[in-house]
């Protein structure tokens, strides 16, 4: 029986981009993907230890926590706080103006940052593996 695949949480409000992550990670990396925009579902998966790494979009339009909309930066801090072990978090965003990278990494406490467009499956997987090895 093959080893259980590593599981990646994808939080992305644009359906086509979420679809790209899922296809790239499943097909080229053999990962399992959990795609959701709902915080309750994310926390349930994380607390049950079913998430090995999270990829979070910064601009989230439909992700709510305690009755208000939160973005990927706040979500990263929330997931960090609630996860039993330290899950690597990768921020992915189309906010790519000068200074965004430093600002967003510092504010979210995420491990790394990817700038959209992200379109090469191999590069995405290398980044994911690198973060998984580091932990």
């Amino acid at each position: 029986m093959p080893a259980k695949p590593l599981s990646i949480l994808i939080v992305e409000d644009h359906p086509l981009i979420a679809k790209f992550y899922r296809l790239a990670l499943e097909r080229a990396g053999g990962f399992a993907c959990i795609v959701t925009e709902k915080v309750d579902e994310m926390l349930a998966e994380i607390e049950a230890g079913r998430v090995d790494l999270a990829i979070l979009d910064v601009s989230l339009s439909a992700t709510e926590w305690e009755g208000r909309n939160i973005d990927g930066v706040e979500l990263a801090r929330l997931l960090r706080e609630r996860s039993p072990g330290k899950i690597p978090i990768l921020l992915a965003t189309a906010h790519a103006m000068a200074g965004d990278r430093e600002r967003l990494l510092a504010a979210s406490g995420a491990d790394d940052y990817l700038e959209k467009p992200i379109y090469d499956a191999k590069q995405l997987i290398e980044k994911v593996l690198q973060l998984l090895r580091r932990n």
Binding site: F20, L23, R27, S61, A62, A94, A96, K116, P117, I118
Partner: protein, 429 residues
């Protein structure tokens, strides 16, 4: 030496009696002169000198008041001298050479006094008195001039600060615009590049999946094209570089050519697309035909996009003025309305809806697409064509009604638009 109160009520009356003369020669200064008498009075209240001198001062002042310019000079010459002197003051003031103005005036008065009071001591006392009045007057002028200058500088400073603030705001909104544009462009690019790379890398499981991904690529590329066009439009409009034609345009033709473009989507969503003006004579309007169609298409596709059940209705009405002097009402504008029964816009968001990148509900806009530039562009286009645009609650209490106006081409005889029988537009495939 004794000190006397030299400036009595009598003196003040004397000074006041100079008023009419002053009004004659210095009409613009007379008012200021009257208002300054109390200052002058204070200045002369303490006069250091003997009784005799005070009597003499009074006498000379009286003489001065009684016939300053009629004694030595003849009237015409005196007037001329005063006009010259006054012009000097005016020029001096206007050119902001206060000191030189003062000097000129002093010299001029000294000359007058010399002519008027040739005897030594009298002349000296009167010159002293007059000089003091003059100095005070000029000092006050200087002060008020300085005050005005300071006020001017202050308001210039404020203007500059305001201009700086405006510039900073403009620069910030430009940065925000760039950040927004960059974000909006990257999103469809991500799908286009990502899916084509997946296909090229041979990561698809079946030809059907490849086809589906290509469909996504195509839709993203179309979205990107629309975005690029919108951004170019906004850029051109904001730079004032959008050249609009001023043509006589048939509103009927514009409606007829635009409605079919949204009819297919409306039919796919089972919406009735109603042309409430079908079969009615519509006026000719003054507009740029391409841009008028663009505005109408923007409003119609928004209405279809944000309506899931019910209908989208377009209608045209003539707007009349309250009437001219004969009470004849003249239509000058046509008002085009696009009404839907869709999700509507909360009242607190209605003012912002014509702003760039504004999304009533960001999560919904992600699903239905669009960067939030359509209405911003429409507003600017309508205004450039001499009309207005606005948003109201839908008449049915559901959805919204967006209207815009366009000026009529010229005086036309149009039958008043009758509310016609609504006609559904058929989707033409």
């Amino acid at each position: 030496m004794k000190r006397y109160l030299a400036f009595t009520e009598e003196d003040e009356l004397l000074l006041r009696s100079l008023g009419p003369r002053l009004e004659k020669y210095f009409p613009e200064m007379a008012e200021r002169f009257y208002s300054q008498i109390p200052f002058h009075a204070n200045a002369f209240r303490v006069f250091t000198g003997g009784e005799e001198q005070i009597v003499r001062l009074k006498q000379t002042l009286q003489r001065w008041a009684g016939g300053l310019f009629t004694g030595v000079y003849d009237q015409a010459y005196a007037e001329e001298r005063f006009q010259i002197g006054y012009r000097h003051v005016r020029i001096g003031l206007e050119q902001k050479y206060m000191i030189s103005a003062m000097g000129v005036v002093r010299a001029f008065f000294n000359e007058c006094l010399l002519q008027e009071f040739p005897q030594g001591e009298q002349q000296h006392v009167v010159a002293l008195a007059m000089g003091k009045i003059l100095d005070l007057d000029l000092n006050l002028m200087c002060e008020s001039y300085m005050h005005a200058t300071v006020q001017n500088l202050r308001s210039l400073n404020e203007q500059m600060e305001r201009a700086n603030r405006d510039l900073a705001e403009a620069s910030q909104s430009k940065d925000e615009f760039l950040a927004h544009v960059s974000h909006e462009l990257r999103t469809p690019l991500n799908s286009i590049l990502g899916f084509t790379k997946l296909i090229l890398d041979g990561l698809c499981s079946s030809p059907e999946e490849e086809r589906q991904l290509l469909h996504d690529v195509f839709a993203s590329a179309q979205h990107l094209l629309g975005l690029v066009n919108d951004i170019l439009d906004i850029g051109r409009i904001e730079a004032g570089k959008l050249a609009l034609q001023s043509e006589t345009v048939s509103l009927r033709a514009v409606l007829d050519s635009t409605l079919p473009l949204v009819a297919i989507t409306a039919a796919e969503k089972s919406l009735s697309l109603i042309d409430a003006t079908a079969g009615v004579a519509l006026p000719m309007v003054r507009a740029d035909e391409v841009r008028l169609r663009q505005v109408l298409l923007n409003l119609l596709s928004n209405a279809v996009k944000f309506t899931n059940y019910g209908s989208v209705t377009v209608r045209a009405l003539l707007n009349t003025n309250p009437g001219d002097e004969f009470g004849v009402e003249q239509p000058t504008l046509v008002r085009v309305e696009v009404e839907d029964t869709g999700i509507g816009v909360p009242p607190e968001k209605r003012n912002s809806i014509f702003e760039k990148f504004f999304q009533v509900d960001p999560s919904n806009s992600r699903r239905v697409g669009g960067a939030g530039l359509g209405l911003a562009i429409s507003r600017r286009l309508v205004e450039l064509m001499g009309g207005k645009i606005g948003l109201e609650e839908g008449k049915s209490g559901r959805g919204i009604l967006v209207w815009f106006t366009a000026p009529l081409a010229s005086q036309q005889s149009i039958d008043t638009l009758q509310p016609p029988a609504p006609k559904a537009v058929r989707a033409t495939k």
